[in-house]
């Protein structure tokens, strides 16, 4: 019964390939995040940055940082930056404010997702404090001043003199409720 044994071994091997590839499909998710983080593809910015005090300042140049605010299709809030753009010295901590207002008659939860262009600049924008690290819950008609504190790394490539930090605001009320339930 050599043939029957061969079949059994074959089936076992192939089923393990199937299980392995199913797992690999899910493995692609963290893999994708890692690739994006390492390379800055997609303009993904990192999490909260801890100031080391050794950043070093490059007084010789100024980098322009533009702020863009977008709202996802169904988001009824108003959302705008206090100033549209700032000129910053690489290595120095800056602050910018964003104003958000719930224009509806119900309590809602929103969350802003950041993205940086050009992509290769994403790794050089360090946010020590950002409203995008958490979500915002606003009562009806409530307005909120949201701070952002950031450092542009002095190692930012010389050809990047303008970078755009864009936020897209999403309505996550339903998913927050789902999580509570």
């Amino acid at each position: 019964m050599l043939e029957a044994q061969g079949k059994k071994r074959g089936v076992f091997k192939l089923v393990s390939v199937v299980v392995g590839m199913f797992a690999f499909g899910f493995l692609l998710v963290p893999l994708y995040d890692i690739v994006c983080e390492v390379t800055g593809f997609n303009g993904k910015t990192g999490g909260a940055y801890q100031e080391t005090g050794k950043e070093g300042v490059d007084e010789s140049r100024l980098v322009t940082v533009q702020f863009l605010t977008n709202k996802n299709a169904n988001m009824p809030w108003s959302f705008r930056p206090e100033v549209r753009s700032v000129h910053v010295v690489p290595g120095i901590l800056n602050e910018a404010n964003f104003i958000v207002r719930n224009e509806t008659n119900v309590t809602m939860v929103g969350k802003a997702i950041p993205s940086v262009t050009p992509f290769k600049a994403a790794d050089y924008l360090h946010k020590t404090e950002c409203f995008c690290f958490e979500s915002q819950k606003l009562e009806k008609g409530e307005e909120l001043n949201m701070p952002l504190r950031f450092i542009v790394d002095r190692d930012i490539p010389a050809d990047v003199n303008l970078l755009t930090l864009s936020y897209t605001l999403y309505d996550i009320t339903s998913s927050v409720q789902l999580a509570i339930r």
Binding site: K7, G10, L14, V19, M21, G25, D171
Partner: protein, 533 residues
Amino acid sequence: MNAVVEEHHDEHHDHGPAKGITRWLYTTNHKDIGTLYLWFSFAMFFVGGICALGIRAELFQPGLQIVQPEVFNQLTTMHGLIMVFGAVMPAFVGLANWLVPMMIGAPDMALPRMNNYSFWILPFAFGMLISTFLMEGGAPNYGWTFYAPLSTEYAPPSVTFFIFAVHLMGISSIMGSINVIVTILNMRAPGMTLMQMPLFVWTWLITAYLLIAVMPVLAGVVTMMLMDIHFGTAFFSAAGGGDPVLFQHVFWFFGHPEVYIMILPAFGIISAIIPTFARKKLFGYDSMVYATASIAFLSFIVWAHHMFTVGIPLAGELYFMYATMVIAVPTGVKVFNWVATMWQGSMTFETPMLFAIAFVILFTIGGFSGIMLSIVPADFQYHDTYFVVAHFHYVLVPGSIFSIMAAVYYWLPKWTGNMYDETLGKTHFWLSFIGINVTFFPQHFIGLAGMPRRIPDYALQFADWNMVSSCGAFLFGFSQLLFLFIILKCIRGGERATEKVWEGARGLEWTIASPAPYHTFSTPPKDMADAHG
């Protein structure tokens, strides 16, 4: 005494098929299951075809005449899903079931019971998928590629049924593939080495490996969708920290090998038919095997050429562009080999050969437009236009589907014991050939002129070619009724087929009687000299 009689009775049963419907429900016979797959796929071909004719009827003229945009989106989506998963793939599995055991001199598939399951899952999967047309919110409307968030946040409620249908057809394909691999690796007649296998067996072996590698990834991606929709995860939702572009990467990691799953068995069929009617051995058998394996390998590392416009960094675009172009090399080897096989052959042009030659020419046209699409800067113009539609229909319809039709005509005498009607067969070929070219060739023009795909209405400058295209589609669609008629006529009777059927045929399946007996090769064949063409 009674027991002895009973036993004898049971033994007797094994010699032929059971009677009535249970023959088909419980069958573990590879020929029966092959037949079931082929009829199922033919039925789905008509369902998908009706969707396609709905699309072409709406596009006959600019403006909205027949269906609303919501319904139009459902038609394009269901057309794609049914044709890919319901028509083309099951047809190839059906051919594998019928032919692989006969070609390698095995009595049956390795896992006959699982073979039965893998077929009978399919009617349920597609019953569920097609029933979504009747549900509130309608059928899937997000395209056969079901990009998130169209298929998650903005999807109709029927998406859950779509997901389970995909799971079921995935399980079916995986079981079918395991069966094919185990059969080929364990049940070849003694003396048949791997490099003596017919190319249809080779291409199916490689296809089956592709299937077990990527169908689980498809299952994974629809599972992630299911979790995003019902369990509050955020794989593809930007608001929750996920990324819709991730969906496209995972989908196309499955999707590109899937494209080759639908064409590699076709290469095997054509490599069987052309030598028969050219009355020469296949030119470059070894290079055919290596080319098939290279194409399969390359299919895993080119997926992002479907998504050049999502914002991939330049280095990535260059890599995927060059990697994609490399595929033209093994594919070119194959086309060269087919042409070289015909070169100075004593060719005759029976229906299977006509389909095979049309395959070589038209598939190559589809391949060339594929190379055009692989060029990144040009792709930004072609992306999501009718040029893409023309490209993939040229490789799928006169590619995969013509090869399936060629296979049916070629092996039908072996299956039924009767010759099909040659005049009607040639008529069917010419109607299909003209229909297909009238349908899809003009789509190159309107695509280059800028008509986007997946729209129910269009600007006036595209009107003329759309009308031409719709006329061709109806010609092609209705010609398939003739195909159905020819097959039924052949099953019911006709000139008796000989064992060998075709003068130039080579391979073990031509050494057994026509029609092929219910059980073949219960004792393995001995002569392997002519095992492949």
